[in-house]
Symmetry: D2
C-alpha cells in the first residue's frame, strides 16, 4: 500500500531554521510553578534543594548536548546557549527547543527523588516551556546574560526582604507588599539590616547570583594576539570536540556581567577550543 | 537597580503565533530511540510494554491539557491535536510544542518503573522532540491522521515480516532486508503465512492500528440538521468545558481513516461539546 | 573564477511559503498619500479621476496575474485575492506581494497622464506598500472583504459630512472634527440633508461602495447539487485557464457583504471554472 | 455602524519584523526580463541605456529612502542595503521590501522615456520582485556584495564571449553554448582576443563591475583609533541625518570586493556619519 495519497499533508510543515551566524539562546521556564512550589512546600524565598535540582537537570542537558557552550539559571528558569556556529539539527528552532525542554524535564523528574527523598512526585507533573531567541553579536548575547542576572538580583533582594517582613516581621503578604512599594535597593538593604539583622551580602551566592554552568576546558593551544584561541586544524578540531564531550561541567555562582568571567574562560565564546 | 540597560534584548524575541482557525497538530518523536530500544532490550518488532508506556504518557498529556481533542500514537511518535478554535497560550507555537513535549517526557520518566519494573532508567535519559503543523480544513486534518495510520500499517507489516525472517527464519538482517526488497503487501502476508504460519490479521490491534486517544463524551445536547452539535449558550459552554476536563480518556486501537470513527464521535472535531 | 567562496551567504535567505489551502489576500496601500493628494490637488472627499486610476492600475494587475480571482479597492488601498489552491511562485509571500505592488506601481505611473493629463508627475513619485495575509476559510475571506467595505462606508460617510461642513458650511477643519465627534451614522445623514440638502444615498456608488474587480466568466459547464461547478478533466481545466486569461475584467461598485454578489458568480471562489 | 463584527480578521495578520542588529539587504529582480529585453530589442550582451535606467531608478530609491546606505546593481537586479541599526517601518520585512520594489518600479516607468525616447512602453509593463535577507555581521554583508560582483564578472565574461561568437563569429546560439561548455575564464579571454581582437579588460567598467551607488559624504568629524567615526551627540546626529538627505548620490563602477572601497568611505557602514 502506497502512502502517497495522504503524504501531501507534509507540505503544510513550515521551516523554522534559525538565522546562521547568530547566538541561539533557549530559555525554559517552569509551567505553573507558583502552584507547584506550594504543593511541594518549597522554602521561601529560596529552596536550595529545588535550585540544586534545577542545576542538576541543566547539567544533564549540558552533558547530553555538547553543542551547548554555557547556561544560566535562576529560580525556575534556565537559559541555554548554543554557539553562533552551531549546526545541530540544522538549527531548526523547534528541534533545538523541544530537545532541551524534553531532556531537562526527564532529568528533573528522574532526579527529583535524590533532592526530595521524602516527597514523591504525583500528577500533575512538573513541566517546562521554552523558546529560542537569536542574538547577532557577542555584545547582544552578554547583555542577554546580564539581563537575566540583574533580574535575579532584583527579584532576590525583593523576595528576601518580602519574606523577612512576613516570616520574621509577622506581616501578612499585602502589608509586606505595601511596605516595599517604591523602595530602592538601598531601602531594602536597610530594612533587612535594621529590622532583622540580615546583611544581604552574606546571603548564599546561589541565591544572589544564580547559577552559571560551563565546561572546564582550559585551552591547550596558543591564543592569538587578540586573546582568542587560534584556528585549529581539522584533526585538532575533532580532538577538541572529543575533549569537550569529556570536559568537567562546572556550576558556579558568580558575576557574569563584568568582563572577568568571560576573559578568564575564552573557550566559552570562542567555540574553537576543548 | 533598574534593568532597563539590558532589557533591550527582549526586542530580539520573534513572535510565533499560529494562524487562527486552523487545526494544530503537535507531533513528537523519540530522540535516538534506535539506540534506546537496544539499551533497554525492547522486544522486536513491537514491545507491548513500551507502547503502553507511550500511551500512558500521552494520556497524561491529554489530562493536563484539556484543549487537546484527540491524539494518535505509533512506535515512538505521538501526534496531539488542538481544535482549530484553540486559544491556549495565544496559540504560540513554541509554548504549545514545548509544553506537550515536556509533559510527555515527565510522564514517560515518571511512569517508566511501572512498565519496566526490572530495568531502571540510567542516563542518558529518554527524550523527545516535537513540532507544530497547522491544517486549515477538517479534510487536511483527517488526511494527516490517515497518513500516520497508513504509515503504521506499512511499517508494522514490514517489521513483522522482517523480524519473522530473522527470529524464526534464522536470516541475518541483511538477508532479510534483501528478501523484502520490492515486495508488496500481499507478498509479505504470503511470506508470513506460508513460511511461519502467521496470519497477519491476527496480530494485536495495537501493533496494526496504533493507538488513538480521545475523550469519551457523548453529546448531551441536540445535533443540528447537518449532524453537528448546536451552538451552546455561554453557561452551557462553561459547563461543557468542565465536563471535558472530567471526561474519561479512552485509548483505542481502531481504524481512523474511514468515516465511522469520526461520525460516531461528533464531539471530537466539533469542539463544542463536552 | 568560481563563486563558491561567497555563495554561503545564500544560506541566510529564509523561506516564506504561505500555508497551503488558504486564501491569500495581498493588500496594498498608498505610501504617504496624504501629502501626495495635497501635492496633486485631489478633490475632497473623493477624486473620481484618482479612484479611476486606482481601478485601472488594479485591472492591469488582474490582467497580468490570471491567478487572482477578485480584488477590492477603496481610497488609496486595494486588496487582491489569490485562490486557496493557488501555486503561483510556490506561494512565496515576498514574490507574490512584491510582484503585485510592482505591477500596480508601474501601471499607476504609466496611466497617470491618461487620468491627470494636465498635471505631470514629479519626484518624489507615488509608491505603495503591501502585505500578504492568509485566510483558512471562505467565511474568513468574505469577512475580510466585508471588513474593507464596511470601512469604506464608515470613512466615506464621515468624510462626506466633514468636507460638507468645511466646503459648504464654512467651518475650519478643527470645528468640523469637533462637530462630528460622537455622532452616529444617522446623525451624519441628518447633517448632510438638513444643512446641505445632500441625500447621502444619492452619492456616487463608487464613493459609497468602493470598487470590486473580477472576471466575467459565466460557467459553461454544469453545477453540482450544491451549486458549485463540477470538477473538470485535465483538458477542460487547461481550456478553462485559457478562458480565464481572456475573460473580460469587470469593475463594479456594488455590495459584496451580502450573499448575492457571490451567489451570482460562483466561479469567483470556486476557482475551478473559467 | 460599527466595524467590530468583521474586524477579527486582523488577527490573521502575522508579524514579520526582521531581527534587530542585522544588515538588511533587499534584492529586486526584473520579472520575466528575458521576454522584456526581446520585446524592446535591448542590445546584447549589455544595453547601456537599460543599465543606466536601472541605475537612475535605483538612485531614485536611494533618494527617497535616506535609511539606505549602499546599493549594488547588475543586469536586471539591484540590491539595497539598510544599516543594521535601521528602524524604518519598525523593520517590517513586507513594508521594507514592497516600498523599495514599488518606488523602483515607479521610477523605472517614469524615467523610461528619457532612456528609450523612441520606444514607448506598452502593456504588459515591466515589474520587479524582491525579498529581504538579513546578515548578522559586516563580514557576511560584504561577502554578499562580493557574491553579487563575482556573479556579475562571471556572467558578463560568459555573455560577452557568447555574443561575440554569435554576432561576430556567425555561430547560432546552440553552437556558441557548446563552444563555451567547460571553458575557464582564461579560455574565454583567449577566444575573445584571438578570434575577435577583443581585450576583455577594455570592456566598459559598468559591464564588468556593475554599479555601486552610495552617498558622497566625507566625514566632517574625527575618526577614533580604529578608523571609525566617533559617536555623535544627539544634535550632531540630527544634523548628520539632514546632511545624509542632502548628500550627493554617486554611481560608480568599481571593485567592492577588496577592502579599498570600504576603507575609503568609512561612513557607509558606520552609519554614524553624514
Amino acid at each position: 500500500m502506497a502512502n502517497s495519497k495522504y503524504e501531501y499533508v507534509r507540505a503544510f510543515e513550515q521551516p523554522d531554521v534559525l538565522l546562521p551566524n547568530t547566538w541561539i539562546v533557549v530559555r525554559i521556564d517552569g509551567r505553573g510553578f507558583h502552584g507547584f512550589t506550594t504543593k511541594y512546600k518549597f522554602k521561601k524565598p529560596n529552596d536550595a534543594r529545588a535550585l540544586e535540582l534545577m542545576n542538576a537537570a541543566a547539567e544533564g542537558v549540558m552533558r547530553e548536548l555538547p553543542d551547548l557552550v554555557v547556561a544560566y539559571g535562576v529560580s525556575d528558569e534556565f537559559s541555554f546557549v548554543f554557539h553562533k556556529d552551531c549546526t545541530l539539527f540544522e538549527r531548526r528552532a523547534s528541534k533545538l527547543t523541544t530537545t532541551i525542554v524534553s531532556t531537562f524535564s526527564s532529568y528533573y523528574v528522574y532526579l527529583w527523588p535524590k533532592y526530595f527523598p521524602d516527597t514523591p512526585l504525583t500528577p500533575p507533573l512538573p513541566s517546562f516551556d521554552g523558546r529560542a531567541v537569536v542574538y547577532p553579536s557577542v555584545r547582544n548575547l552578554r547583555d542577554y546574560m546580564s539581563w537575566r542576572q540583574v533580574d535575579c538580583h532584583i527579584n532576590n533582594l525583593y523576595n528576601t526582604t518580602f519574606w523577612a517582613l512576613v516570616q520574621l516581621g509577622g506581616m501578612d503578604a499585602q502589608a509586606a507588599e505595601k511596605e516595599l512599594t517604591g523602595t530602592l535597593s538601598a531601602d531594602k538593604n536597610e530594612i533587612l539590616f535594621s529590622r532583622f539583622k540580615i546583611n544581604y551580602n552574606n546571603e548564599p551566592e546561589m541565591f544572589k547570583k544564580g547559577s552559571v554552568i560551563f565546561r572546564d576546558s582550559p585551552l591547550s593551544h596558543p591564543l592569538d594576539d587578540a586573546g582568542f584561541p587560534q584556528p585549529l586544524s581539522k584533526t585538532a578540531t575533532e580532538k577538541d570536540r572529543k575533549r569537550r564531550v569529556k570536559a568537567r561541567i562546572v556550576v558556579a555562582h558568580i558575576d557574569i556581567i563584568k568582563d572577568e568571567f568571560w576573559a578568564a574562560r575564552p573557550w566559552i565564546l570562542s567555540g574553537k577550543a576543548p
